[in-house]
């Protein structure tokens, strides 16, 4: 399939006016070898890319075969970046092999995403040309695309110009050609998205679940490895299908629950699961989402999804953002919702609003072995890790800074964490007690806690949690203490900037109203997960994954009633609340199959 698409793109390119030009997307390589496809930052840098995430050991070559329409001498550019420019060799260096020749140029050495000239090669159209990426370091070299041209015109680097250029060169039409229709389209397969899909499907909706990873669960997945906290509330039956045990964050035990979760979601005939599909656009007309467009992260294949109702469970509120939903980011001033907590003052809720949010994490771990293990010097990591020395990470490994957006600057945030990890581990290795220690696993995915929050009819605040406000439509219930994180460097500049601390508030049981789970201004848009309608401090409790899972299940049921009466989410609150609450009550019990009645 991949093969077919790569060729297709090339074929289209060859029909284009500049027939001697070929754009090869790295994520579509036939065989990525040890490189991973990294689609986390497409909105910022333009495309998924291949990332040599070898944790210090060069990864196996990625390879592919390309058929050229014309023989000749081609100039070659690679879209790449040096992710830590400075007074050291770039950490992510690699080389390109074209046919039998390894080009001399060491790639991954330009600062900022853009095209690096790799050299030229003679190409013979008679047989497919073999292309390989040879990683030199194992430290996250990145390759987005390779461009072959008989002319020596460097392609544009700026993201805007590049997008237009890409579209032109691949001769892609604006709209995806394939359109798929559903009752409910759920985007983002974290706990919230999975629960929404299951709840909707159980009520007979035809559901599409679009998720940009190969496995489900978001932060709970084996790729990020956070265990699920919170209570089941009204939705124990569903949430037990997708939750995790309480292992330490970062534990390899996450793999066990992964199998359970994926199997359970796949067992629903009326959920069409689109794994490795990332939504990249949504359009609203008259304040209703009309469609969501998504792209396969490896092949670039595109589809359009239409439905009367959509759930945004992307964490970053992407669907809402594209559709023009009201949203907020950062900390409100203490007066906005009166979220003062004397004991922690400014650290808890500031006098003036700002851009601070809870940060993102990259979890990691090492293990002791029977023999000495080496780890390379990482001079480029030391300015971040300084004299910190550690052999494992936990949730406190977290990074946020006012000038960094957890969405727009997520790649810089991830990279900062990688420097913190590699530097700290390298320092720990200097201690002889760690001689046999091996860096076992470092995630390359950022685990996020807080970014965009879409605005609903009700904004859930810290006070709602503190007072246990009993809403008539309180469909989510939680007892877990509220905790909000801050970077410890705010109190003491000698602390590492990547370590956070939590402030816990133990309050009563609290409730989240249904009105916080649909958009205020986009009529057919639900939201579940950390992008639900809340204030910064309000997110402190409900961001944990069983609570967000409850939100998902709650909107799944609401969507089924919306369909039944052909109404919009708000009308479930204004006109069908009792029926909705009864439906939630009823779902607690496994239905007896008709055959067994």
């Amino acid at each position: 399939m991949k093969n077919l698409l790569t060729v297709l793109i090339l074929f289209i390119a060859s029909l284009n006016a500049v027939a001697q030009d070929i754009l090869l997307e790295a994520e579509s390589f036939d065989n990525p070898g040890g490189w991973v496809v990294d689609p986390q930052f497409v909105e910022q840098m333009g495309s998924p890319y291949l990332n040599a995430h070898g944790m210090g050991k060069p990864v196996k070559n990625a390879s592919t075969a390309v058929e050229f329409k014309k023989s000749g001498t081609y100039h070659i550019w690679v879209r790449t970046m040096n992710w830590v420019p400075g007074e050291w060799e770039a950490p992510g260096r690699f080389q390109l092999k074209v046919g039998e020749t390894v080009l001399d140029t060491v790639l991954g050495t330009r600062s900022g995403w853009g095209w690096q000239y790799a050299g030229e090669a003679k190409i013979n159209k008679k047989q497919a040309t073999h292309i390989e990426l040879q990683d030199l370091t194992g430290f996250n070299g990145r390759c987005d695309a390779i461009y072959f041209s008989t002319k020596k015109d460097t392609p544009p680097s700026s993201t805007k110009k590049l997008a237009a250029w890409r579209q032109e060169i691949t001769a892609q039409p604006n709209a995806p050609e394939e359109v798929k229709s559903y009752d409910l389209v759920v985007v983002g397969g974290g706990l919230a998205g999975c629960a929404a899909a299951i709840a909707g499907a159980e009520q007979g909706l035809k559901v599409a679940l679009i998720h940009d990873r190969p496995v489900l669960g978001g932060n709970a997945s084996e790729e990020i490895r956070v265990h699920t906290l919170g209570i089941y509330g009204n939705f124990e039956r569903i949430l037990k299908k997708i939750d995790t045990e309480h292992y330490p964050n970062g534990s390899a035990d996450a793999k066990l629950d992964q199998e359970k979760r994926d199997k359970n979601v796949k067992s629903y005939d009326n959920i069409d699961l689109f794994l490795n599909w990332r939504a990249y656009d949504a359009l609203s007309e008259e304040n209703s989402v009309k469609y969501v467009d998504a792209r396969q992260t490896f092949t670039g294949e595109r589809k359009r999804f239409t439905a009367p109702y959509f759930v945004d469970s992307t964490g970053d509120g992407w669907i809402g953002f594209w559709a023009g939903a009201e949203f907020s980011y950062g900390r409100e001033s203490v007066d906005t919702y009166g979220e003062h907590w004397e004991e922690h003052g400014e650290l808890w809720s500031p006098k003036e609003a700002d851009n601070a949010v809870m940060g993102s994490s990259v979890l990691w771990g090492s293990k002791d072995t029977d023999s000495p293990q080496s780890f390379p010097e990482v001079p480029w990591a030391m300015p971040v890790s300084k004299d910190y020395s550690e052999v494992n990470g936990e949730w406190q490994w977290e990074f946020s800074r006012n000038d960094l957006s957890q969405i727009d600057d997520a790649e810089e945030i991830r990279d900062h964490m990688l420097r913190a990890i590699y530097g700290s581990f390298s320092s720990a290795k200097k201690d002889e007690v760690n001689e046999n220690r091996k860096l076992e696993w470092v995630s390359y995915l950022v685990g996020k806690r807080e970014s965009r929050r879409l605005v609903g009819d009700h904004i859930f605040t810290f006070n709602n949690a503190k007072e246990g406000t009993e809403f008539p439509d309180g469909v989510v219930i939680e007892t877990r203490a509220v905790d909000v994180h801050y970077q410890t460097v705010l109190e003491d500049e000698n602390n590492p900037d990547f370590i956070s601390e939590a402030l816990f508030y133990r309050g009563p049981q609290y409730y989240i109203p249904y009105r916080s789970l649909y958009s205020k201004n986009i009529k057919n848009l639900f939201m579940a997960g950390r992008n639900f309608s809340c204030s910064h401090a309000g997110l402190g409790g409900p961001r944990v994954m069983l609570t967000t899972g409850q939100m998902g299940a709650a909107v799944g049921y609401a969507a089924s009633l919306c369909k039944k009466y052909e109404v919009m989410p708000r009308e479930i609150y204004t006109g069908y609340l009792q029926e909705y609450l009864d439906l939630i009550e009823e779902q607690k019990y496994e239905k007896i199959p008709t055959s067994k009645k």
Partner: protein, 372 residues
């Protein structure tokens, strides 16, 4: 074992008197009605030649089996309140063994932990009756300084649970955060003493002390706090001084902008946001501090770059290395909005763009391309 000990800890609260008889020994500093040197473990600044004398307050701390223990206020020779203190005796039990803990605790005027004096006659002891080493007292001091310690939000039995062992291959040695965090923060073998002491220091009394201070608060006390090296005093003063008092104390405020912790700095700049447009020249010390302050505060400062003097804007062009990517973009955006960019600024930009050591040089190169 641990659970039994905990049961005993609760049990002993009722039978303590019977078991111990009346506690007689008092902390050595009990008789101290004048403080001429700082407490042995102390976080505030102590000026030489200070002498504080004791006065009474209506406040007290009730400890298990011992009852009410007075909280006193130490004042200086101008009668200004400086420090709260209480001589505490309280039972601590572990593994079926109970002892009295003697300690003199000190709080700031805002009810924060200020320090403690140990009792030479009745030193603190650990699990196995070993006496605290001097380093153990230091560790206790460190623990008490942390008002957000894990001891706050966990019952004592939760502090000693071990994580479940890993079921499958993979990452090992990921000890539960709790156990590791606790180990790092308490005196080894003295979890119970640490737990009791922390809850005494950070218990209800905190709020009562602060409320008592607030009743007597006046401008002089606020200014004293502003001039203190203690962050919570600085912050409290900054939050409570009115506009006029800000003006009068501006030199100290701008000094704090440079020397304070990031939280204090960002509070100041947010609080004075309007002054950048209203009285740009007064804010010059803020611009002078640009290279010395933390990144978050620098971002807040750069939000006001449109109100900076030409000289300052030029000066920033010599400091581009300290700016993060987004800060540099903000600065370039400001330059881009100007009709003309001075030759001096241009020269500095070109120099920066030409450097192959600067991570963000490419941004300046692009800017120069777009604006040439």
């Amino acid at each position: 074992m641990i659970r039994i000990a905990l049961g005993f800890l609760l049990f002993v609260t009722h039978f303590c008197d019977a078991q111990f008889g009346s506690p007689v020994a008092f902390s050595d500093s009990q008789e101290k009605t004048v403080l001429e040197t700082s407490p042995e473990f102390f976080i505030l600044d102590w000026k030489p030649n200070t002498a504080l004398h004791i006065s009474e307050t209506p406040l007290e701390i009730i400890t298990d089996s011992v009852g009410a223990q007075k909280v006193n206020l130490f004042r200086d020779n101008t009668e200004a309140p400086i420090l709260y203190s209480s001589n505490i005796i309280t039972p601590v039990c572990a593994d079926g063994d109970c002892k009295f803990m003697h300690i003199t605790l000190y709080w700031t005027l805002l009810g924060d932990y200020a320090g403690f004096d140990r009792s030479v006659k009745e030193p603190l002891t650990k699990h196995d009756h070993d006496e605290f080493l001097f380093s153990d007292y230091w560790k206790l001091h460190d623990l008490l300084k942390d008002d957000n310690s894990i001891l706050k939000r966990r019952a004592i039995d939760e502090l000693v649970t071990k994580p479940k062992p890993s079921k499958i291959e993979g990452v090992d040695a990921l000890s539960g955060a709790t156990v590791k965090e606790v180990k790092e923060s308490v005196v080894s073998g003295a979890l119970y003493s640490c737990y009791v002491a922390w809850h005494l220091v950070h218990g209800k009394i905190k709020e009562q002390l602060k409320a008592y201070t607030v009743e007597q608060l006046n401008e002089e006390m606020l200014v004293r706090m502003l001039n203190s090296e203690h962050t919570n005093y600085q912050m409290y003063a900054l939050e409570n001084l009115d506009q006029n008092q800000y003006k009068v104390n501006f030199s100290r405020v701008s000094e704090l902008f440079k020397s304070g912790i990031p939280l204090v700095r960002s509070f100041i700049i947010k609080n004075l946001a309007n002054s950048f447009s209203q009285s740009p020249t007064t804010m010059q010390p803020f611009w002078d501090a640009l290279p010395y302050i933390d990144i978050n505060t620098r971002s807040l400062l750069l939000q006001h770059v449109d109100f900076a003097s030409d000289a300052t804007v030029t000066h920033i062009s010599t400091q581009l290395s300290v700016l993060t990517r987004n800060q540099l973009l903000k600065y370039l955006e400001h330059l881009g909005s100007k009709k003309v960019i001075s030759t001096e600024v241009l020269k500095n930009l070109e120099q920066f763009a030409a450097s192959n050591k600067e991570k963000n040089a490419y941004l300046v190169t692009e800017f120069l391309e777009d604006n040439s």
